[in-house]
Each structure stands twice: as structure tokens, then as C-alpha cells.
């Protein structure tokens, strides 16, 4: 009987550890919600979500989050222009063309690319890519959206490539053989059979990539500047939601002030955006798995 009670206690204890993850999610939502609620008592929701000026640290503060959102979306869009086609093409090469030996070498190298700390990518963007781009676009400022966008794309590329490749490799061999038997080339098979068959898996990878780009912090904090600006011009300094949180955290804004609460309000918006994207991605992946199992 004694061992049975012990077993019961152990199982409960293990359950508590597993449930900690739910507590983490709850904690995130609670912390963000409480401070956001306080923030919204002083700043109307409409002003926050539709205002076009973000100057919370000025003498006459304005709390329109759109410039930060626009900055985030511009950098993310540039990153996607790099990461999605390149990631997908790499995945097609690795899944449909590459000999085993090549795959064995390339995949770990891509893993290294994915494992480089983001602060290092930030240095790379500021010190290497920006000067390089300035030779092509002399009007480009030292801080801008283009350089961090491109570097972020390179950073996310391995994620897109490996998840897309997984999805394509899960497509049954019979489908490929069917296409080859009809005289299709490898390109036709890859583009007309394999990619469409793996479509929901690839889309899931793409959405996860967008979510990563939106939440990425250090590259933009280092190379994009700190000037909230509602613009589509990739050559001028701007500020993203994440970079703003870093900027305020670096100063000594006293807790409990409105400025302090802004980072939680921006964080809440960021959390909702990425969480929504993650849910869609998970749902698509589940659907993909159901089709091929």
C-alpha cells in the first residue's frame, strides 16, 4: 500500500510539472493583460490601434501604434521575399535532386545557420550588409528596413527549408513514380505533383516563418533604427514593435508609469499576432498529417 501511495504522489508531481507549461501561457496572458488594461484606461483603444503617431516619450505623448506595426510588417515582408522563395527552392533541391552525400553535408550547415544568435545577425546586418547595399543605393541611410529585412530572411531560410523539405518528403513515393511513369521531368514532378501535394505543410512552414519574423528582435534593434515612422520606404530608419520594447527596457523608465505600460501593450499586440499565426500553422500541419497517415 505504501508503494502505491508513493506512485500516486509521483504521478501527481509529474503532472504538476507538465501543467507548468499551461501556467506559463496563462502567466504570459495575465501579465500582458493586466498592464494593457491599465494602459487602456488612460489611452483609448481607438487611439492606440488607429493612431499614426507613436511618441510616448515626448512631452506631448501620442500613442498610435500603427507606425510600429507598419515597421514590423515592412521588415517582415522584406524577410519573406528573401526567405520564402529561397527556402522553398532549397527544399525542392534537397528533397528532389540532392544526392544523399550532399544532403548529409548541407543539412547540418543549414542548422548552423539557424543556430547563430540573433545579435550576431544584427552585427552582420549593420557592419556588412548595410555598407554593401549603400554602394548600390547611395541614398540609403545607415539604419534602414532593407538590410535587417534581408538578413532576417537569411536567418529564417533554414526554418522554411527544413519544414518544407519534411513536408515534401512525406509525400508518398507512389505519387512521384506515377508522374515519372507519365514521362514527367523532375522539375515537372516537383512543381506540379510534390509541391501541391505538400501544400498545406509548406504553407504551415511559411506562416511559422512570418511569425518568427514578426517576433524577431535583435536584428532590427541593431540595424533598423529607433524612429517610429509610418512609411513603406525601405531606405530610411524606422522602428518595429520588438525594437521599441528593447528601447524602453534599456532606459530607466520607472515601473507603474504610462511609458512603462506601453511595452506591455505593444507586447500584447505582438503576442496576439504571433499566437494567431502559430495557431493557423499548427492547424495546417495537423491537417497535412491527417492526409498522409
Amino acid at each position: 500500500m505504501h508503494t502505491r501511495r508513493l506512485e500516486w504522489i509521483i504521478e501527481r508531481a509529474l503532472f504538476v510539472c507538465a501543467a507548468l507549461s499551461v501556467l506559463t501561457t496563462a502567466g504570459i496572458i495575465l501579465v500582458l493583460a493586466v498592464e494593457t488594461f491599465e494602459f487602456l484606461r488612460e489611452v483609448p483603444v481607438a487611439e492606440f490601434l488607429t493612431g499614426t503617431e507613436w511618441t510616448p516619450l515626448f512631452a506631448t505623448p501620442r500613442f498610435g501604434v500603427l507606425p510600429l506595426v507598419a515597421g514590423t510588417l515592412l521588415v517582415s515582408a522584406i524577410a519573406m521575399v528573401v526567405a520564402l522563395p529561397m527556402g522553398l527552392l532549397s527544399a525542392i533541391y534537397l528533397s528532389e535532386y540532392a544526392p544523399d552525400g550532399v544532403r548529409r553535408i548541407v543539412k547540418p550547415v543549414l542548422e548552423v545557420l539557424a543556430g547563430v544568435p540573433t545579435v550576431v545577425y544584427g552585427y552582420f546586418a549593420l557592419m556588412f550588409v548595410t555598407p554593401l547595399l549603400q554602394r548600390v543605393f547611395p541614398q540609403m541611410s545607415g539604419f534602414n528596413a532593407l538590410s535587417p529585412g534581408i538578413v532576417m530572411g537569411i536567418m529564417i531560410l533554414p526554418l522554411v527549408s527544413s519544414l518544407s523539405e519534411d513536408a515534401m518528403r512525406a509525400v508518398p513515393r507512389g505519387l512521384r513514380e506515377g508522374a515519372y511513369a507519365l514521362g514527367a521531368t523532375r522539375m515537372q514532378t516537383a512543381l506540379q505533383i510534390v509541391v501541391p501535394a505538400a501544400f498545406s505543410g509548406i504553407t504551415a512552414a511559411f506562416i511559422l516563418a512570418v511569425s518568427r519574423a514578426v517576433g524577431e528582435t535583435m536584428i532590427v534593434a541593431i540595424a533598423a533604427g529607433q524612429q517610429p515612422r509610418l512609411t513603406a520606404n525601405p531606405f530610411v530608419p524606422l522602428e518595429t514593435m520588438t525594437a521599441y520594447i528593447v528601447q524602453v527596457s534599456l532606459g530607466d523608465t520607472p515601473q507603474g508609469t504610462l511609458e512603462y505600460r506601453t511595452i506591455f501593450a505593444v507586447g500584447m499586440l505582438l503576442f496576439l499576432m504571433t499566437f494567431g499565426l502559430n495557431l493557423v500553422s499548427t492547424w495546417l500541419r495537423e491537417r497535412f498529417r491527417e492526409v498522409y497517415s
Binding site: A13, A18, Y97, L110, G115, V120, M187, I245, T282
Partner: protein
Amino acid sequence: MKHRADALFRTVALGTLLLALAALGALVYDIVSGGIGRLNWQFLTSMASRRPEDAGIYHALAGSIWVIVLTGALALPLGVAAAVYLEEYGGRSRVARLIEINIANLAAVPSIIYGLLGLGVFVRVMGMGRSVLAGACTLALLALPVVILSTREALRTVPGSIREGSYALGATKWQTIWYQVLPMALPGILTGLILSLSRAIGETAPLITIGALTYIPFAPDGPWSPFTVLPIQIFNWVSRPQAAFKENAAAGILVLMALLLLMNLIAVFLRDRFQRQGRT
């Protein structure tokens, strides 16, 4: 014609891949050429300074090691316990499924959000202040999803026959897990832990958010000490306009990358041992 298109497509696809690898090459070249000149014994043993030529990385290296060791000490037991529950006990219950979905989603939450969580919960509500411990707790939560996922994979590689053999001798479920399953899965678990810690050691944003200091001229002396870490020191140097600090940043990156390389080598070594053990 058909074949020309195919060959062209293949070349383009391969070219893209090579371009990505070339970017990695450029990154490595840029950092090595920028920082190797600054990397010497003085740099490794000195603290932060306002003069770039006197500044060093020692305090940040010590801070990173403090934080990462504590993070590992927190994430390992919690992550393994959670994984054991989900893999060995939870089964297909609805609660277990809910926890699984939750963990998958947590793995994709931006790290800076964890920083806000740490700021709200550890620094303020739990009163840890801007300490090594608060940083480690924050990074432990960040690392947990990966530790749990990799531990579950390691547990899954333990053959069912080992479990049955143990049960048939009158072992309880926990005895079976503790004496047979966990020891066999240990190398795999540690590999996953080290890989997740090597990601955590490069994290900057969550620690800036909880208020780790960017200028701090001493090494931490305990869990309650204020601290800085390598990536934050690098960020601090990158943000200075003087070229000499940029050189320090590159040298700091070299130190950080060396630390990462070391951790990855340990992980590869463990994985290799694990696989050899599985084969016999």
C-alpha cells in the same frame, strides 16, 4: 526543351542553396576579420570599460555561464518530469493533449514576450529583482518546450521490451521509469538539453527586457547578483558609434560562437555515444 528546363531549374535551385551557404560564409568572414585582432588574453580577462582598448569580456562570459548553468539546473528536472508525464502517464487523455498543443504553441512565442513575462512575474511579483536568478528562470521557461520535446523523443527510443522486462519482475511504473527508462534515455535527454541551452545562451532580447544591465564592470558572485551576458555586451558595443567598440563586438561574437561550438560538440559527442549504445 523539356530537359533544358529541368536542368535550368535544377541549377537555379542549387544556386539558391549555395547563395544561402555563401551568406553564412560572408558572416563568418566578416566576424573573424573584424574581431580576431582584438581577441587576446587581456580581452578575455578584463571587465567592461569606457575605453574600448581596456574593455574585456570576462564579466559577461562569467554572467553567461552563471545564467546558463542555473537555466540548465531549472529546465532539466522540470522538462524531464513534464516529458515523462506526457510520454509515460498522460496517454491519450484530453488534458495531456491540451498540454501538448500548449507546449507546441509556446515553442513559437517570440522570446521577447518571455522577457515581459519574466519582468512581470520573476522581477516584480516574486521580487527577485534584476538578478541572475530572474534571468535564469526566464530562460528556463523559454528553453522548456524544446527540452520537453527532445526528452519525449529520447524516451520514445527506449524499446517497449525493456519496460515489459521490468514490469514482469514486479517493478512499479515509477521504478521502471527511474531504473530502466531514464538511464537509457539519458544521453538523448542531455543532447536535447545542451542544444536548447545553446539557443538560450545566444538570447538577448528577453534578458534586456527583464533589465539585465548593459554596463556592469564586475562578474556576478551569486544567484542574486546583478549581471550581464555575452550577447547583451555585444549589443552594447555594436550600438556605440566608435569603430573600436565595433571591433570589441566582433571579438565578443567570436567568444560567444566558440562557446556555442563547444556546447554543440558536446551534444554531438553524446548523440554519437547514444547511437552506438542503441546499436549493440
